[in-house]
């Protein structure tokens, strides 16, 4: 049995768990914790170790999707999770420009861990406050050749598109 893995990373609350959950055949929510600190209490729970999703391709091949914890204090997990990944997705919450700088730093960190193809997903594009992609590209200072894709983590077709774009980039590198 062959397994390959792809990593979904990005700042706190950007929609990583939701993204993986939308396409995984197993329940990913294994390491969520209730948030206790008031400061970070913009939602109920956060990922503390990792998310873990699975898509069975055929009898011989399984794709694992790993989601990293978004909170900085769990970033010791990042390097472990990136080991041997085929590619990665950086999720960015399009409605929270205050996280763009961190998203850029995370992108650089993962690129350094393992040089593999990646795409950037501008998530939560369904929300009214979402920034335009053109503006995000400049704010995130992405090169013109980096794929920045509109995304809605709760929407299966959108998640599929992001995964397919990443796989296409991988294929182009081969």
């Amino acid at each position: 049995m062959q397994t390959v893995k792809m990593v979904v990373t990005g700042p706190f609350n950007s929609g990583k768990t939701e993204f993986i959950q939308t396409v995984s055949e197993i329940d990913v929510v294994s390491t969520e914790r209730k948030i206790t600190s008031e400061a970070e209490k913009i939602k109920e729970s956060t990922t503390v170790a990792m998310d873990f999703g699975r898509i069975t391709v055929d009898d011989e091949l399984v794709l694992y999707l790993f989601g990293t914890p978004g909170q900085k204090r769990f970033d010791f997990m990042w390097e472990i999770l990136s080991e041997g990944m085929l590619g990665f997705i950086v999720m960015v919450d399009s409605t929270r420009p205050e996280t763009f700088k961190e998203a850029r730093a995370i992108l650089e960190t993962f690129r350094a861990y393992a040089p593999t193809p990646y795409v950037v997903a501008a998530n939560k594009q369904d929300l009214e406050d979402a920034w335009d992609l053109d503006d995000m590209r400049i704010a995130l200072r992405l090169d013109p050749d980096v794929k920045l894709l509109p995304a809605i983590s709760v929407d299966r077709e959108s998640v599929k598109t992001v995964l397919l774009e990443l796989l296409t980039s991988i294929l182009e590198e081969l």
Binding site: Q2, V4, K5, V23, I55, T56, V57, D58, L61, L63, G84, M85, L86, G87, T95, P97, E98, F100, K101, A105, E108, A114, P115, T116, P117, E128, D129, A130, W131, D132, D134, D135, I138, A139, D143, R156, K160, L163, L164, L167, T168, I170, L171, E173, L174
Partner: protein, 274 residues
């Protein structure tokens, strides 16, 4: 769509950079601690600016820049009180008091002054309104943003912030090929020219600093300004091989290229079928 946030996360320089590169038309409204500024752009160029606390009338602006005297300003205030800026401007030009160039130069420096003030604001909500234009009775200007951006970045003294913005000095620089941007129209200082003269995809920023005997802080500030003004972009130092992505082989060890392609194609087929 929404382009809004807080100045704590986006500096004025970064916002001007965004407007400049995306060639935006519309107004940036910034609510500072004690007043509100509105900066209006057309196709990425500065067209108009005002602070809500100030008299933004043409008479006041011409007086501020010493184009008309206090006495003349006083007369205008009583005699031409009902005229809007465009009417007043025409009247002044036709009666030979001022030239059109006087007016445009005064407006430009007034608008730039307002933006300079904004550089000191560290807190405040901003939003961009793409439907908002220069008020019909106001005289617009058309001013490139590059010089204003460079000027703003010269004021940056925060080591931490500069380091955040430009963490890696091992990258090289290359000139962007944006149409209509000419380095000759930009007012660069001697130090900035020194950096510019070394720009080449073969030279890392660290090497440029060393060649110019420049501190890390200074080179960071200068490069930051050039970047924000959209004049240069960061690239990897040429000569190093960065086209191959060794991580891919590690993820599928012991496989030939054909086997790797086959595997990725199966993944693609499966995701499509979801």
């Amino acid at each position: 769509m929404a382009l809004k946030g807080n100045l704590r996360d986006f500096t004025i320089t970064q916002l001007l950079n965004l407007v400049n590169l995306a060639q935006k038309t519309g107004s940036l409204v910034i609510e500072g601690p004690s007043e509100v500024a509105t900066i209006t752009f057309r196709e990425g160029k500065l067209a108009y600016a005002r602070l809500n606390s100030e008299d933004g009338g043409l008479g006041a602006i011409l007086h501020k820049s010493n184009v008309i005297s206090a006495a003349q300003y006083g007369t205008l205030k009583t005699r031409a009180a009902t005229m809007n800026d465009k009417e007043l401007g025409l009247l002044l030009i036709n009666s030979g008091y001022v030239t059109q160039d006087d007016i445009l130069a005064s407006l430009q420096s007034h608008f730039v002054d307002i933006i300079q003030k904004l550089f000191s604001w560290v807190e405040g909500m901003f939003h961009f309104d793409g439907d908002s234009n220069v008020p019909a009775d106001k005289i617009p200007v058309r001013l490139d943003l590059e010089n204003i951006i460079i000027e703003g970045s010269r004021r940056m003294r925060e080591w931490e912030q500069l380091k955040d913005e430009l963490p890696n000095l091992d990258l090289a620089l290359k000139f962007t090929d944006r149409p209509g941007v000419n380095l000759k129209n930009i007012n660069l200082s001697v130090e900035e020219w020194k950096v510019v003269s070394f720009i080449n995809p073969k030279n890392s920023i660290a090497q440029i600093a060393k060649a110019n005997k420049m501190s890390e802080l200074d080179v960071r500030r200068i490069v930051y300004g050039l970047l924000q003004a959209g004049l240069v972009e960061l690239v990897r130092v040429q000569g190093l091989d960065h086209s191959s992505l060794p991580g891919i082989d590690k993820a599928m060890p012991g496989k030939s290229k054909e086997e790797q392609k086959n595997l990725v194609n199966r993944l693609i087929g499966r995701i499509r079928s979801l």
